[in-house]
Amino acid sequence: MAMLWVDKHRPKTLAEMDYHKDLSARLQRIAVSGEMPHMLICGPSGAGKSTRVHALLREIYGQGAEMVKVETRTVAPNPNTPSNTVDIQVVVSNHHLQLTPSDIGRKDRAVVMQLIKEVASHPPLGGHTFKVVVIDEAGSLSSDAQAALRRTMERYMKTCRIILLSDSASKIIPPLRSRCLPIRIGAPSNEEIQLVLQKVSSSEGVKLAPELGHKIAEKCGRDVRRALLLLEMVHTQANSPSLSKDVGLPTEAWNLAIEKVAKKILQEQSPRMAMEVRGNVYELLLGCLPADFIVKELVLKLMADQKNDVVKQKALAAAAHFESTMRQGSKDIFHIEAFVLRFMADYRASMGTR
């Protein structure tokens, strides 16, 4: 089946990994030893977390770990009311199970417990001593679920290992962190990304001008996934086997949209404009962008050309404050708008004093 380049050229084994060689070597040693602790793998998106986990699984279990299928598991979170069920999609092989708990929502505690119990209750195949449960985006687990997880980890240690993937370790509660082997996968450097880009393009039979490679690496924010998507994008756009350096790089639609909003905010600070911006924020929300992401991108764009340090500091403080209230509150738009208005007021005040 045809795939996107990102997925097609994903390294399958630890040996194929292009960067963080020392880390690969360490994982290799773990795989060979036949014994593995629970792991907490964190790092920014697009740095290769899940790629490494898959390679590690392959290293341990061989081809069997790649024979995956998608299943819908039905779990009854409350054993007293078995008819009340939750569906969750999981990826399973004979040796491991991968789930994304953010799909579940509020009942994640019971669901994660049940799934792990299910995995642990069947003995591992093929002479292995344990199976693996991979929890993607573990940071989004409720603290309730995380607390329950530490007990589960110990109870099923004999037959089951858990790998947690998360953007940052700070979203994982300390007891869990202490039970896991922490592995941080940093974002690759600019040069490493260029290396990957060249490698992928040559195996696709595309000639990539080094300058363009540099440009893409700059643009992608040290995110390999983004870099490769950009590369494929440029290739599709140019529709030729050689890519020269003066190809324009496209950007995501949300990026342009948020930029537009930021421009509006800087252009006029009035209740009228606030109302217009609110409409645009509604539209961004309609695009299924997470609300905290909107605030974050917005503050970055607002500060981009800002000279006044005081304004910058205030903007950041406001963004941080309202992001935190948003987490606790229920009406996202209130908090986004509160941030926008705070910034408008501060910005206007700073213009007045100058």
């Binding site: 795939m3 996107l4 039905t74 738009i333 509160a338 206007r348």
Partner: protein
């Protein structure tokens, strides 16, 4: 004989429909031409937006017979057509959808059934199978056997649609999360060319009012006896609900023409005591009507007006405040339309100038108790706050004030909402604060901060560019001063967002984990992958080597998601409403257009009432 107006006054012809022309056209297309191979129509939309009504009207116009599915039909049918008595729900449903009854000689289980062209049609008109309450139990995924049953059902259904056994079937679905989930699951493997989907939005206010006025006229109510505008505002796009409310409100009104040519809703209710209106007589006559919905529907508008205008009684001490001082400080703003009597009166509340408000400790007190206004508004406090939030910027003259208000909204949202999302269990156990009290307190804080923060109150001088109401009003014949409170869009936004997320999740699950490198529709995918998928599809004109295999529906959704700033979803309703508006103004039905502004024009002036 008791009956419901909602049913009694169901539209019977296409002209009576109060749904956007475009949507009607789409449904018509489907019914008129099965030649395109579209055999299954899915109507989605919130309750009471006229999904079934559209279908009924069009079916009648085009000469179809509408057969509606009901689970009860199973028993009676099995006798009539000599089916085995123990026919399962799934069998019955599938048979119904395929309209297998047309071919009595065939076994219903022999699928795929041959297409209808091979057989002579029955003498009756062609049928449309309508499914309004989909038998959810068929798709219920219980543990073990049951879930197998549901997947078998989906398989059979898919095979049936793909093979052409379904001729004309219409499924109506609500706008709830479960519905979206179910639809995507049901249609996951159905050939996308066989299915047409039409999305209905809630009925725009002007449309709803038109329908209500029509019904009121047909019932012989005196014009203005019932405040259709208020009802249409309140119903939130649910026309069925509005009709029922209308019937309730009209209960007891004599149907014979009444001499009172009522000036409409605003003249009545509590404000009738206002001497200047001079409508006492009229109001008294209408007072029996008030027993039902009146206080409530007036309540929210009054509460909004009172709170938003943020007036205070000026100090009576030296130099009686001239109106000139009280009007907006900013020169650019067009002067508010003033009432003559306000100018003369002393001690009449008005929007005060900044100078009179500055030391907050010494400014004149409020002339009302905010909590009482909230209580009298008779809507849920949270709802009132949403309205205030939506309309507040237009009443603020200074961005700093507005920022302050907004900040305190956000603060109190934190603890006000924690009741609904569940306190920590220990808190719940102690019963220290009940959820509702907390919510009420939060609303009270929010309302008070609205009043507290506004040091530069101004009359509204611009419209909410996205507010569905204000936009359409201002383009109407009466200018911007008709009822110009914008409806909160939060629910609509949440609704569409949920729908898209559910659809995306469902579609990605069917596309498989390899198609886009991820299984679930996590935010990560939405942010990092889908935008590029969109760009790739655009750049390659849909012919990208791997992406062209994506399900069509998924492609379309990705396109939708990647056009966030054009605001089509939000503006669609606005455009249609204003269209309708102009249509009423010059068209056959001048009544609602002309009368409504007259009844509501004074609202923004904040009527003074005794609470």
């Amino acid at each position: 004989m008791p009956y419901l107006w909602a049913e009694q006054h169901q539209p019977s012809t296409e002209a009576d429909l109060v749904v956007a022309k475009k949507k009607i056209g789409e449904v018509k297309d489907f019914l008129g031409s099965s030649a395109h191979g579209r055999r299954l129509l899915v109507l989605k939309g919130p309750a009471g937006c006229g999904k079934a009504s559209v279908l009924c009207c069009l079916a009648a116009d085009l000469g179809f017979e509408l057969v509606e599915w009901s689970p009860a039909m199973r028993g009676s049918r099995s006798q009539a057509s000599a089916q085995p008595a123990g026919e399962s729900l799934a069998d019955a449903f599938l048979r119904f959808v395929a309209q297998a009854d047309r071919y009595r000689c065939l076994e219903p289980s022999s699928s795929p059934a041959p297409s209808s062209s091979d057989f002579s049609r029955p003498a009756s008109r062609p049928r449309i199978a309508l499914v309004r309450d989909f038998p959810f139990t068929l798709l219920e995924s219980g543990p073990g056997e049951a879930s197998k049953g549901s997947s078998v059902f989906i398989e059979r259904f898919t095979a049936m649609v793909n093979s052409g056994a379904v001729q004309r079937a219409v499924f109506c679905f609500n706008d709830a999360r479960e519905d979206h989930k179910l639809v995507t699951r049901l249609l996951a493997h159905v050939d996308s060319r066989a299915v047409a989907t039409v999305m209905f939005d809630s009925v725009p206010r002007t449309f709803a009012q038109r329908a209500l006025d029509g019904a009121a006229r047909a019932e012989g109510l005196p014009p203005g006896a019932v405040d259709t505008l208020a009802l249409s505002m309140e119903c939130g796009g649910d026309l069925r609900h509005a009709m029922n409310a209308l019937q309730l409100a009209a209960g007891g009104v004599s149907r014979v023409a009444v001499n009172g040519t009522g000036r409409g809703g605003r003249g009545r209710g509590k404000i009738q005591r206002q001497p200047s209106r001079g409508e006492e007589g009229d109001a008294e006559k209408a007072s029996p009507v008030d027993s039902g919905l009146r206080p409530q529907s007036l309540g929210i508008f009054h509460a909004l007006g009172r709170l938003l205008w943020c007036k205070r009684v000026p100090p009576t001490s030296p130099g009686i405040v001239d109106l000139e001082i009280a009007t907006p400080v900013a020169e650019g703003l067009p002067a508010a339309k003033r009432r003559k009597k306000t100018a003369a009166a002393v001690g009449e509340p008005k929007q005060l100038a900044y100078e009179q408000l500055v030391p907050k400790a010494r400014r004149p007190p409020l002339y009302f108790v905010p909590e009482e206004v909230i209580a009298n508004s008779s809507v849920e406090p949270g709802m009132l706050v949403n309205w205030l939030f939506t309309n507040a910027p237009r009443f603020y003259g200074d961005i700093g004030d507005l920022a302050e208000f907004s900040a305190s909204l956000a603060e109190s949202d934190v603890w006000g909402s924690s009741s609904s999302s569940g306190w920590s269990p220990s808190f719940q156990g102690s019963q220290a604060v009940s959820g509702f009290a907390l919510e009420e307190l939060a609303a009270s804080v929010q309302v008070r901060s609205l009043l507290d923060a506004n040091l530069h109150p101004v009359p509204p001088s611009f419209n909410d560019p996205f507010g569905a109401q204000s936009h359409s009003e201002s383009s109407g014949p009466s200018g911007g001063l008709a009822f110009n409170m914008a409806r909160p869009l939060m629910w609509d936004v949440a609704r569409h967002r949920n729908r898209r997320q559910e659809e995306l999740a469902g579609l990605m699950a069917t596309a498989g984990p390899l198609a886009l490198g991820s299984l679930s529709a996590s935010p990560r995918v939405v942010l990092r992958t889908l935008p590029f998928v969109h760009l790739l599809l655009v750049a390659s004109r849909g012919a990208h080597a791997s992406l062209r295999n994506l399900p069509h529906a998924l492609m379309k959704l990705i396109m939708d998601l990647s056009a966030p700033i054009d605001g089509e979803t939000l503006r669609a309703g606005v455009a249609e409403a204003s269209q309708a508006r102009s249509q009423f103004g010059g068209g056959h039905d001048p009544d609602p257009g002309e009368k409504m502004p007259a009844t509501w024009v004074a609202l923004p002036e904040d009527p003074i009432e005794e609470i």
